[in-house]
């Protein structure tokens, strides 16, 4: 079967599966809708959490990012996994014992304040939309590449699919769909990784592949690194030859430290992750569920470092000094007889994610450190659809300064394509490429659905039920169960439309706003919840002061340095905006502590509440009222 047919088949089958599950698991009550009825098995919940957590960014972009950053990329690998330890030890069991539906529920009840609740709702919605915009864009990109449709059409298809299972199924539908999506995603990630590992190092497990030796004479364009060299030595050597920083050479450790803290704490503070632990039956299950979630995440994350290293070697090996025209049309043979076909290069060139600039006019591609195009970020500006006689796309950029060592770089590679393009770069079988398409979509859709649910629950449950339609006499919502469920579904529809809009008209800074999501979660939710559990004396005034300080400081710093063009030289203690959430968190803790000690202790029933969430027995089911 040809590639396109296989892609339709794999993607079609996986979608039929998700929709089938959604219909089977249709939500009948608000409890089904918000927390899947509170009866999800910890292993299923672990898989769903893993799928929810691992987004298009993890699946598509992470390996590319590490491949490009080398040693410093460890911040992302540790940051996005280590947060689960904090979650398991410090948050999940207690929040499960507390037994409500959402994060604003906890903040509002523990700090006996609707102001705090409303701030938490706004922060939840902001953080979740930031994320979901990127996901919808990811869905569009994967669709456009693999189904050969326009990016916007891709976003519409994605909106339709998410609509079916998030709006009908609620948390129940989403949880069971995510179990299926996790399975598709992990298979789609591991199989190409195993192929690559076998090809580059002759080792089956990618995790061990980085300890192995190369299977071919690796010509990096400067010299030949003989077969049988340790992979990491070959990689360091080739990058040094081409004028890059060595792969395993650490950069700025202070910023790596701050970024790792912000990502870890941000992970533990993200509402769509926390809400997962409300769906299991007991406190015990919440603890083990975090363990399973991390185990399933680690299966993918421990492969990332290897995929990143293999693909860097592989890319250099395939593109260095090949004659463009021959390579992209008929393919060439390497000196040791291996096939090397460049049709993928042309595919991604059409998608504007790759570009070649034949600066020395020899008709061959050269790859080295430095910019290939004269632009602040080295990005190409394509000259419409115009192509050179040999078929490569022309650009309007001026030529960058010549004379780089060892030779001038001629290639621009968008690092987001590494995972999607690698199977093709390595000439892997067509079904592996089709599998990647299904996996990328599973990753993007599962995260988008989880986020949309958190947004709709915040609106219908927290904002409408607990603040706007709250009956002050009874403290309960004036909305009936049925109308709240209807409101939740309408809120989900509205959220999908807004997310789709953001996917089609991305605010030009999707990548930067991710720093927002983590920084804000780290500086607001995480400390507020920790103090609510571990500091009985923490009161309303302390919490509100702490949350405001954390949010305003982090928000302001990011706005100033990312969006208002603040100068790097003015960074506070050299902290980059991506890591500033860490400082925001520290400030939050300090301010909350001081203010709470200067004001009245919380009322007795709140102190009793804190006592009770510290003890597992009597968790019961998640309660609406």
């Amino acid at each position: 079967m040809d590639l396109q047919t296989l892609i339709y088949l794999f993607v079609g089958l996986s979608f039929a599966l998700y929709i089938g599950i959604a219909i089977w698991a249709k939500a009948a009550s608000t409890k089904d809708f918000y927390v899947a009825g509170g009866g999800v098995h910890p292993i299923a919940n672990g898989m769903a959490t893993a799928a929810d957590w691992m987004s298009a960014a993890s699946f598509i972009s992470l390996a590319g990012l590490i491949s490009y950053k080398g040693s410093d990329g460890g911040a992302y690998l540790m940051g996005w996994t280590g947060g689960y330890v904090l979650l398991a030890l410090l948050l999940a069991p207690y929040l499960r014992k507390f037994g409500k539906f959402t994060v604003p529920d906890f903040i509002g009840d523990r700090y006996y304040s609707n102001v705090a609740r409303t701030v938490a709702v706004v922060a939840t919605i902001f953080v979740s939309f930031t994320y979901v915009a990127g996901q919808m864009r990811g869905v569009g990109i994967v669709f456009s590449r693999f189904l050969q449709v326009d990016v916007n059409t891709g976003v519409y298809i994605g909106m339709g699919i998410v609509f079916i299972y998030a709006v009908l199924g609620g948390m129940k539908g989403i949880t069971y769909t995510q179990v299926a999506q996790y399975t598709v995603m992990i298979i789609a990630y591991l199989i190409p990784a195993i192929f690559l590992s076998l090809m580059v190092t002759d080792t089956f497990l990618p995790q061990l592949g980085i300890f192995a030796t190369t299977t071919f004479d690796f010509n990096d364009g400067v010299k030949v690194i003989p077969q049988g060299t340790y992979l990491m030595h070959a990689l360091d050597q080739s990058l040094a030859d081409l004028g890059f920083k060595e792969y395993t050479q650490p950069g700025n450790l202070w910023n790596m430290f701050m970024l790792t803290v912000a990502l870890m704490v941000g992970t533990a503070g993200l509402p769509h992750v926390i809400v997962r632990f409300f769906t299991v039956p007991r406190v015990k299950d919440a603890r083990i569920s975090a363990g399973y979630a991390l185990l399933f995440i680690a299966l993918l994350y421990t492969t990332v470092a290897s995929v990143a290293a293999f693909s860097r070697v592989n890319t250099i090996d395939r593109i260095q000094n090949v004659e463009y025209k021959q390579w992209v049309t008929e393919g060439v043979k390497k000196s040791d007889g291996r096939e090397n076909h460049g049709s993928w290069f042309r595919t991604w060139e059409k998608g504007s994610l790759l570009a070649w600039n034949d600066r020395n006019g020899d008709g061959k591609i050269q790859y080295a450190a430095g910019k290939a195009f004269d632009n602040a970020k080295g990005k190409p500006a394509f000259d419409g659809d115009k192509v050179a006689p040999d078929g490569h796309r022309l650009t309007t950029n001026a030529l960058p300064a010549k004379g780089a060592k060892p030779f001038d770089n001629e290639v621009y590679i968008d690092r987001d394509i590494i995972v999607l393009a690698n199977p093709e770069i390595a000439n892997l079988p067509n079904w592996v490429i089709a599998l990647i398409a299904a996996g990328g979509l599973a990753a993007a859709l599962s995260t988008a659905a989880g986020l949309l649910l958190v947004i709709s629950a915040s609106i219908s449950h927290d904002l409408l039920g607990k603040v706007i339609f709250n009956d002050p006499a009874t403290g309960k919502s004036k909305l009936s169960e049925k109308s709240e469920l209807m409101a939740a579904r309408l809120a989900a529809v509205a959220a999908i439309i807004v997310a789709g809009y953001l996917g089609i008209h991305p605010p030009g800074f999707v990548a930067q706003v991710v720093a927002f999501a983590f920084g804000l979660a780290a500086a607001s939710f995480f400390p507020a919840i920790i103090l609510g559990i571990f500091d009985k004396r923490m009161n309303k005034a302390g919490a509100i002061a702490g949350i405001s300080t954390g949010l305003i400081f982090t928000f302001g710093y990011i706005i100033y340095f990312v969006f208002m063009g603040g100068d790097k030289a003015d960074y506070l203690w050299g902290i980059a905006p991506t890591g500033i959430g860490t400082l925001g968190m520290v400030l939050h803790f300090i301010v909350a502590y001081i203010v709470s000690r200067m004001t009245e202790p919380p009322p007795q029933h709140i102190q009793d509440l804190v006592e009770s969430i510290r003890v597992p027995r009597g968790a019961g089911e998640a309660q609406a009222h």
Binding site: T81, M232, T248, T260, P616
Partner: protein, 84 residues
Amino acid sequence: MTEEKAKAYWRENISTILKLLSVWFIVSYGAGILFINQLNTIEISGVKLGFWFAQQGAIYVFVILIFVYVRMMNKLDEKYDVHE
């Protein structure tokens, strides 16, 4: 449960958490960041040790830590008779 017992349970709970979090800190921030250059002088099959901790090793330890925590807490819950 008496107030004494509740306090003792909470104290043991906190000490369990602190023990495990110190391991968490050592493998990630210690081995993967603060002492990465020192550990990088040790190489196993071409892979520098500090680099490995930051990119793979710490993740394995994280997974193990959570399962150890679950075991310890289940025992503690039974000891104080607060299990579900």
